[in-house]
Structure formats: structure tokens, C-alpha cells
Symmetry: C2
Subunit: 555 residues, 2 copies
């Protein structure tokens, strides 16, 4: 194994992206200098349609496991799932100390408790004013505006210069919590000289600045003010600032606020305890406590903005939410934009809510959401404030990284100073310059139930095959000595045809099996021939290709 | 069966929606008066993620089959798949004469040829000036602008008034073929009195008028004019007008035009033969014929705008398209907007094209597409021109129907004159008024390979189950007389765990089977117990629920 280890040169900083570059989610960046490795973020990605049965996707951390003795810290930039969701899986294998802001660690603690890891982990609270010395690194932090409080950039002071890891952010001049992105500190770092900026590429397809949260407040004020009855607002459970806005606006209109949905309840409770959320004087209520209130005094904040099948809003939309029946007079606001891939689930939810008679406001209709990520002008501003020598676009699908680099080219950067790379592609920063190193193992590890990494390409290929065309098992038992048929052909099939109505087809299949038994003698030959012949037959008759599994036993 | 027949009253028009109301695609509307049934459109819907293995979704036409003797005509409003795609399946069961415009029937003929039905069907070409007398109906037609030439509204003159079936349309004052939506004829119908308008709801979430195709021409002119090398443009194969625009613009810039992708080649050839497409003087070329041309003289129009796995553009993006390798210097334009559900496939294609070094222009970045469907102001204009007594929003998911009705309410309609209904909900129009009739059977019929309708809820549930967690088959053979085990437990599993690495788990499963054999005697009891015990065991050990299939044979 020794040979796969990298022998660190003392003055080369290795930057190893293990997630988030080239595909959305599971953000993880590794900084390695001499004998020290720092991990920035450990996020999850939600499975795509071609990963059936998969619950979560986490980064492949083989590289870290090979170098586990070097890992000195895990830094978390903020508390979103795509930055902290893989932490339990990493900690179970590499128990390094975790650093994060108060709210971030509040969310992490809930998560570690669910994985029974909270007693085994070391969490260190930091603020934007903290300075950490970890091995050869000196770390400073910069407050960033994002759709969750306490987001921070990490500035790594190293022998090869200042590396600024800036994600996720926007320049909001009127954020809900009043804390602006610290432009002053960014500019000072720029004055001092930033060697390399890693910057958020999420919205590099969108021109202009991302609107301020303040603009949203005006919209919410109007919608909640005009609503004739109850207002139900769905947003991300981690969007504490959005919940605060709703509380503030509701109060102006003499409405009480209730919360529902498991993660919404957990998060608002924790955020209130830590002082990140100021609940109304009467507290946040439950839907049950609000049943006696007149509808025009009710606002309920809930989960389900992505159409997640078991979320509060989706159950409401299906009339399956005991505590709250939506009907005529209710106003539903979806304050979130669809994560690509969720559109159909969201549309179904909207359709069902309309069927119940509710009045709806959502992304396609009204400005009921603003992104937490900066658009092209925010990205430009980050570059102009920090004036880095090199730019490495992070946090984006490949086209977003390319478009971020294209923006920098407009500003005057040449291709040599723009590092568009993907997960696994190592970058080495030395005094002399920046080079691409040997790629390391990276990729997706699937979490399915209790299994982490046991489901791979083979099982997924089988699942997709079974999903498309089902299977056909043929069982035959032969006398080992005489070849006589002891167990007559039995057919077992699911997902291929509707068995109850496919008798004639199954009879033909049996005949084909008998033909084969007449023509071949040995189990192996019978099995091989059946595999081909049944595959052919099924395709010819149905244009489907079920998984064919002949089992010939010799008894 | 007689009892399920509807006994027609001579002066009641029944409107029976069999597709397209409440979900996108598979448009089909049935008009029934006394002994005559007219079908307007017979479209397909493309399968959603939860319909694995399904190729197409067509309307359930049980109602038509019960009343087949009444069906006198199938009218096609235009040649898009969501209006004509189900025609072969309908004709195979109800061989009624088909009426449509020339281009529409051109597309239909190709389709019927593929299904070997072209010699058995009767096609009648009509124009916007045709007047048809079919049973008690007198039919007139109105030219509409849409993203395909030859789209028409159908005006049905009936004893209960004029019914205007208007889909798909927009009011484009500078369409590519110069033929405007016939506002004059619509207005005349309005003057005369329209009893009921059925109108396109697709874009009722979008305010304003849909931009003219002319605006797109300016964008294409700029992009193609500035492109340093080849231009590859992907759009829908049916979007003949878009292809014409590209031909016209390419010519201005001294470029030749090639086409590729099976359906693009077929459609452009047919459209050119029928005179709907004016090819450049040198003709439309193949990519092979263009290899000798300098890149700045090349434009290629191809399929793949939705990221369809086997389309030309997707194969190019994967470097698997022999005839054309995309690289640096190439400009790729995706001139289409994503059909909801296709976003991720499109994004992957874009990412891969960027990886090859191409420069890209697509929906999220630039205005390289305009919709063929009118937005809210177009919808308003249709209502204002025709001034119907009743409005029945068609062609939309449920929320779009509701929003269309909401627009009419703004104009001054009351709820009694707005008919927001879904597939299967019959509307009966008489002299006195409009009533809701008894719902009829409607829904989705799945086409999977050669099977039409044989795949239903059970098979799809099995497929989804297999996709999520795979299966586990246990086979045991017992001596029928003594109960002795003749065939020792065999386990067959796919999609559940990676069998090659799950030996210990499979061994435990076998032990559990042996335990069961010790405790139970009869095949039935063994089988039932195994089903429960293995389900429990698998869930406990993996948190997965594979399909458990115990097979206990008595030999």
C-alpha cells in the first residue's frame, strides 16, 4: 500500500477535490501540506433517477483513508446537507476534530445523535473572528451571506500564499440577520494578496446580482397581508432566515406562526435555542394548537418544498395529513426553487393542492424565493474584491464551472490562471506556480439502508434491468445419474408480464424448456441454451428483455 | 354490455375528455352527438420516472370501444406527437377515417408505415378552408400559429351552438411561414356566437405574450454570424419552422446546412417534399458530405434537444457519433426548452459538450428558443376574440387549467361558466345549459415493446420494488412422502446485495432457511414462514426490503 501514498514535498500545497466539482452536491475539498490534511466540508448528494434504491450519495474517501494519519481537522463552512451530510460516514472512519460555527455545529449535533456518534466526536465552535493554527496552516474565516446564517469562507495561510475557499455566498446588502458578507475582510485579503480563490459557481448561468432577502420580505408581506384565510408556507428546513422572515411578517399582520414537518421542528427549535431564530412572543405553535384560531390568524411553515413524498406539504396535498386539511380559502406559498430532477414531484404536489381548492404561489408564478447563491455579478465582485492570482471554480456542475471561468476571462484572466477541474483532479500549488498533479480516486459511494458502499455499479445495473423488464427464473431438477427430469420446469417471473393474464406465453416458454431438455443432456448446456433461447423468445414475442435466470439442479 | 352504453339524447352534445386534461400529453377529446362520435387528436405521453420500462403512454379508449359503431372521424389539429402519437393504436382497434392538414398527414403517414397500417387507413386532407359535414356536425377550421406549420382549430357547429376546439396556438405576428393565426375568422365566430371555447392552457403560468419566432431569428443570426467554426443546433424534429429559420440564417452567412438524427432526416425530407420547408439551393446535406467544408461554412441541425439517450446530439456529446466529432471551436445551440423531467439528461449533455470544449448556448443562458404555446395574454386574446359563453381549459396539467380559468375570471367570467375538469369527466351541453355528466373510464394505457395495455399497476409496482431493493429467491426441494430435503436450499438474488461480496450474509440466510426446515414440515408452512422471516432478517440486517420469493417443491 505504501506505493499509493503520496510523499509530500514540504512546500507544495496539494488541493484534492473529492466532491462538488463537476456534479452538484457532496462537497468535499482536501488541503494537504507536508504531514497535515484539512478537509473542508463533507456533504451528501441526493440520488438521481438512475440510482434506484439509493438513499444518499457520499464522496469516495479512499484517498483520505490511505492518508488517515495526516487528517487533522474537518472544517465546515455552513450547515447545509450538501456540506455536512456525509460527516457521520466520514467520522466513523476518520475521527478528526470538527470545526464549525455555532449554528452549523447545532445542525451537526442533531445529525451525529441520529447516528449515535455524538459522544465519540470532538466539535470545536469557531466564529468569523477565530484564527486556527493547524499544522503548517493558519486559518482565518470570513462571514458570508447565504440562505442559512453563520456561513463562512476559509482563508488558509500557507507557505505558498493565501488560499481562499469561498462557498456558498451572495452579496446581500439587507440580509435577514443584518450580517453582511464581510467585504472589508475580503478586500484586505486581496490587498495582502490571494494566491488562489476557490469560489461558488452554482449560479454562473444567471446574470446580474442575486436579489436581496429584503425583496422577498416585501412579497411575503403582500401575500400574507392579502390572504383571506390560513397561509401555509413550505421551504427548506435549514432555511432559518426564511422562517424568521415569515415570523416577522406574520406578526405585522396579527398572525400566529406554527411549524410542522420533522426536520422543520427540529431545526427551528435548535436555531431558537442557539439564538439564531427569534420566535414570536407566544412561541412557535403546532398545527394542533392552532385549530381554535380563526384562519386569518394562522401561518404554518412546513417542509415539502421539493415535493418529497413523505413531507408535511405533500401529505397535506394528498389529504393524508391528519393535523391539517387544506381546502378553499387556504393560501399555499412554496418559497424555494426546484432542485433539478424534482420538478415533476413538485408539479404533482401543486396540482393536488389546486385540486383541494387552495390558492397557490410558487416559483414559476411569483417571486416567492430568492437564491442563496450569488449570480454572475456576485461572482465577479468576489473576484474583484480578492484579486486572486488563480481562480478555481468550485460548487457546480461542469458547465457552471466553465461559465464561471468564462466570466473571469471577461475580467482579464487568461486560461493559465483559470483552473477548471473535476473531482479527483489534484492541483499542486508551489512558489513557482500551479500544476496539475496525478489524479486520485474519487467518486460516488452509495448509501442504501445500512449499507455504505456495498451497492456499486453491478447491483445498480441489475436494478435498472429489473426495473425495465423484470426477470424470468426457470427451475428444473434432473436426476444426476440418469438425466431424468425429477422436477418439471417451473417458471417464476415478476415485472416482465402480468403473470395472471400471460398463461399462453408462459405455456410456450415451458414448451421451449421441454424442447431444450429433449435436445441437451448436461445441466450446464441446458442452462446456457435456455439463457439464449428464452432471451430470444421473450424479445421476439414482447420486445422486452427480462433478466433470464435458468437454474438446473442435479439431484 | 348494452347497459354500459350511453343512450344519446338527440339534442345533447357530450364532450368526453380522454386525455390531456390534468396531465401533460396524450391529448384526446371526444365529441358525441346522437349517433355520431368525432375524436379530436390521439396523442401520446412520454413515460415518467415511476413507469420503468414503459415506452409510451396512450389514452385508455375503453369508452370508444364500447361505442365504436358511432365513431365517424378522427380529426387531427396538428402533427405533434402529443396529438398524433397514439393514432396507430387507435386505428388498430377503430378504423375510422382520419382528417388532417397536409403536413399533419405527412407525419401521420410515416408513422402508419412504421406500424404497417398505411394501406389499411383512410386519410383525408383538409385545409383551413374546408367544411366537413359529419353526421349532425358541420366542421370548419381556423389556421393557428404554432411551432409546426398547418395547425388548426376546429369549430363544431352543432344544434347546441358552436363549439371551438382551439389548441395548440399562439398569436405570432411574424411567423416563419408568414401565416398568422386567423384572428378574423375567430372574431367572426365570436360575432356569430361561440357557445363553448376549449383553449390551450400550456403556458398559463407565464405572463405576457409569447414572443414571435422573428425574435428568435435575430438571436440565431447573431450566434451563427459570430460563431468561429461549425454550428450544431439541436431542436425538436417536428419543429419544421425552426429548421427553416436556420436554413435562412445560415444562407445569409454563407453556410451550408446538414441534418442528422433519424427523425430529423425523415421529417425534413417529408416537409420539403410537401413544400413546407424550402431547402437551400444545394439541398440539405449529410454530415459526411460536409467533412470537406471549412468549419465556418457548416451548420448542422440535429435531434437531441431533450438529452434523449440515443439521439444524435447526445451521442456527439459522448464522443460516440462517428460522423461528427465535437471539439474546441464548435458552437452548439439547444433551441428548445426542457420538457419537465428531462432537466438532468439535458444538463448531463451540456456538461459533456463543455468537456469537449464546445461553446454552448441554451435555454438557461440565452433566448435561443421561443415556445409554440401562447402565454396568458395570448390566452386572454383568444377569449376576447371569440367571446364564448363557456370556457373549458384544455391541454395542461391541473394547475395550468386552474390558472387559465383564473385568467378568465379576471376578464369577468363567473365560476358557472368556467369548466375546470379532468380526463373522464363528461360535460353535456344542451340548449338549456352545460352540466357535468357521469364520468367515463379514462386513464393511461402503457405501451411496452409489443404489449399495449398488458403492463398495469401490478407489474409496475413489482418493477419499482425490484428497482429499489431487488429480489431474493429461495429454492428448496422436499421428498413429498417423507419430507426429507432432496434439494438443499439455494439462494438466487439480484439487485439486493452485491452477491460476490455478500457471502456471510447469504450464509446466514441459508442458516435461517435450515432453521425453518427444522421447525416446519409442510411446504406451504415453510414457504409462508420463510417469506416473513427472510423479510424481517433482510430488513434488520440491511434496512432493505427485497422481494422475497420462497419456492418449496415437493418431489
Amino acid at each position: 500500500m505504501k506505493s499509493t501514498h503520496y510523499i509530500a514535498e514540504p512546500n507544495i500545497l496539494r488541493i484534492v477535490p473529492l466532491g462538488g466539482l463537476g456534479e452538484f452536491g457532496k462537497n468535499m475539498m482536501v488541503y494537504e501540506l507536508a504531514d497535515t490534511i484539512l478537509i473542508v466540508d463533507a456533504g451528501v448528494m441526493f440520488p438521481e433517477e438512475d440510482m434506484p434504491g439509493v438513499d444518499l450519495v457520499i464522496p469516495d474517501i479512499s484517498y483520505l483513508l490511505q492518508n488517515a494519519h495526516k487528517v487533522k481537522a474537518i472544517l465546515l463552512t455552513h450547515g447545509h446537507e450538501d456540506h455536512i451530510g456525509a460527516l457521520p460516514y466520514v467520522l466513523r472512519q476518520i475521527n478528526a476534530p470538527v470545526y464549525g460555527a455555532r449554528l452549523t455545529l447545532g445542525l451537526v449535533e442533531n445529525k451525529l445523535r441520529e447516528h449515535d456518534l455524538h459522544h465519540k466526536s470532538t466539535l470545536h465552535t469557531i466564529t468569523a473572528d477565530s484564527v486556527l493554527h493547524i499544522g503548517p496552516f493558519v486559518l482565518e474565516f470570513v462571514h458570508l451571506c447565504h440562505s442559512i446564517p453563520d456561513a463562512m469562507a476559509v482563508a488558509l495561510r500557507t507557505p505558498v500564499g493565501v488560499i481562499l475557499h469561498a462557498t456558498d455566498f451572495k452579496f446581500d446588502h439587507s440580509p435577514v440577520d443584518g450580517r453582511l458578507t464581510d467585504e472589508e475582510k475580503l478586500r484586505r485579503l486581496g490587498d495582502e494578496g490571494v494566491r488562489l480563490l476557490l469560489s461558488d459557481s452554482t449560479n454562473s448561468e444567471i446574470s446580474g446580482f442575486t436579489p436581496s432577502e429584503q425583496e422577498l420580505e416585501r412579497v411575503l408581506d403582500r401575500l400574507i397581508g392579502q390572504a383571506p384565510g390560513r397561509v401555509i408556507l413550505a421551504t427548506f428546513a435549514s432555511n432559518i432566515s426564511r422562517v424568521q422572515q415569515v415570523i416577522d411578517v406574520a406578526r405585522l399582520h396579527g398572525r400566529r406562526v406554527g411549524v410542522t414537518g420533522r426536520s422543520m421542528i427540529t431545526n427551528t427549535r435548535m436555531a431558537a435555542e442557539l439564538g439564531y431564530l427569534t420566535p414570536p412572543p407566544e412561541g412557535l405553535m403546532t398545527p394542533e394548537q392552532m385549530t381554535h384560531l380563526p384562519p386569518e390568524q394562522v401561518v404554518i411553515v412546513c417542509t415539502g418544498s421539493q415535493g418529497e413524498p413523505t413531507s408535511a406539504l405533500v401529505r397535506m396535498s394528498q389529504g393524508q395529513y391528519r393535523r391539517l386539511q387544506i381546502g378553499k380559502g387556504d393560501t399555499v406559498i412554496i418559497s424555494a426553487s426546484p432542485i433539478p430532477g424534482n420538478e415533476r414531484m413538485i408539479h404533482r404536489t401543486l396540482d393536488n393542492l389546486f385540486r383541494l381548492g387552495a390558492d397557490l404561489f410558487y416559483d414559476e408564478l411569483s417571486d416567492v424565493h430568492v437564491s442563496g447563491h450569488g449570480s454572475r455579478e456576485d461572482q465577479r465582485r468576489m473576484i474583484e474584491l480578492t484579486r486572486p492570482e488563480y481562480l478555481l471554480p468550485i460548487h457546480g456542475e461542469y458547465r457552471q464551472l466553465v461559465l464561471h471561468a468564462r466570466l473571469a476571462r471577461e475580467i482579464g484572466y487568461d486560461d493559465e490562471h483559470l483552473l477548471v477541474i473535476e473531482d479527483g483532479q489534484v492541483v499542486e500549488v508551489s512558489q513557482e506556480g500551479v500544476l496539475r498533479g496525478e489524479p486520485v480516486t474519487s467518486g460516488r459511494v452509495f448509501v442504501d439502508g445500512l449499507g455504505v458502499g456495498d451497492i456499486g455499479a453491478v447491483v445498480l445495473r441489475d436494478r435498472r434491468h429489473l426495473a425495465r423488464d423484470g426477470f424470468l427464473v426457470v427451475i428444473i431438477g434432473l436426476d444426476a445419474a440418469t438425466g431424468e427430469v425429477l422436477l418439471e420446469p417451473e417458471i417464476l417471473s415478476r415485472g416482465f408480464v402480468y403473470v395472471a393474464e400471460a398463461e399462453p406465453l408462459l405455456e410456450e416458454i415451458k414448451e421451449l424448456v421441454w424442447d431444450t431438455l429433449d435436445r441437451y443432456e448436461h445441466a450446464q448446456a441446458i442452462s446456457e441454451h435456455l439463457h439464449l433461447a428464452l432471451g430470444d423468445f421473450c424479445y421476439r414475442r414482447t420486445r422486452r428483455r427480462p433478466m433470464i435466470l435458468p437454474l438446473v439442479f442435479e439431484l
